[in-house]
């Protein structure tokens, strides 16, 4: 392994839970948002766990979280930012380069 010459993987995305959150959000159409409970259901995560990871993604400005009211009920809406989408794309590119470099093992 020649770690030094290989591309660095974004540590914000390169963690199982946050990677799955990013993939799910990237699956939305442009301009769409998803409610917190639906995202939770898509990922099978506990609310606490999902909140923790969303906060980290939000700190990196990869995710935008909006609090709104619908029929006087508060809803939390989540979407991937343009920066987050770009980060995810370069992350997958890096993965493929790593895989090529290590001969697919």
């Amino acid at each position: 392994m020649t770690e030094a010459s290989l591309p660095e993987l974004d540590p914000v995305i390169h963690a199982q839970a946050r990677l799955r959150v990013t993939v799910a959000l990237a699956g939305l159409h442009h301009g769409d948002q998803i409610t917190f409970p639906r995202l939770q259901q898509l990922l099978d995560m506990t609310a606490g766990n999902l909140s923790t990871h969303l906060r980290k993604l939000e700190d990196a400005e990869y995710v935008e979280i909006t609090k709104a009211y619908e029929h006087r009920t508060p809803v939390t809406l989540v979407k991937l930012t343009a920066k987050g989408r770009a980060a995810f794309e370069s992350y997958t590119t890096a993965l493929h380069r790593l895989l090529d470099a290590t001969g697919g093992s």
Binding site: A24, I34, L77, L99, G104
Partner: protein, 217 residues
Amino acid sequence: MDDDEEQPMSAAESLNLIARQDERTRRELGASPARLLGVWAFTWLVGWGLVFLADESHARPLMPGWVAGIVVAVLFVAAIVYSAYYGSRISRGIRGPSRRIGAMYGWSWMISFAALSLINISVMNAGRLDPHTISLLWSGTSLLLTGVMYLAGGMLWQDKLQYGFGVWIVVCGGASVLVGVPGNFLVLSLAGGGGFLVASLVYFVRERRGRPARETT
């Protein structure tokens, strides 16, 4: 909190995780309408097939025409209910353009078919049409409208398969009038229902392949 202490993923594990979550997201957000189209394929093939087999022009009709009519009505109501359920399920928890477009599209079906029924019933009453002409009026116009709705869907979602399917159904609408009664029911069943079946299978195969091309870009 918890997973940062986990073993770091290898590139292959990571890609595998991406593929699995992506597949799940696509399935739940309705990227592949294979099952929905399958329900409609069944409705058209069986429903219109029975109407064809029950037609009085046959030496031995399979069943009385009114029985076939009831079966068609029940199948259509069930398929419409399933479609509404499918639409609400995939748009649950989603906010933004795609939910709005989906709702508008769903209502377009309802509104335009309600108007079509009103027009056809009025024409039937005003024109004192014979049963054959009535049959052709309904099969021709409903195939045309169904086809046009799929053309619109193809444009909305930039889906060539859906657009092509719309073209096919529109052509079937023209053909159903040309072949006359009871051939029009055969067009509805085999060409229309068969078209739904082919579209459903194509989406199913695409879903299975999981579109690996998307990841490698």
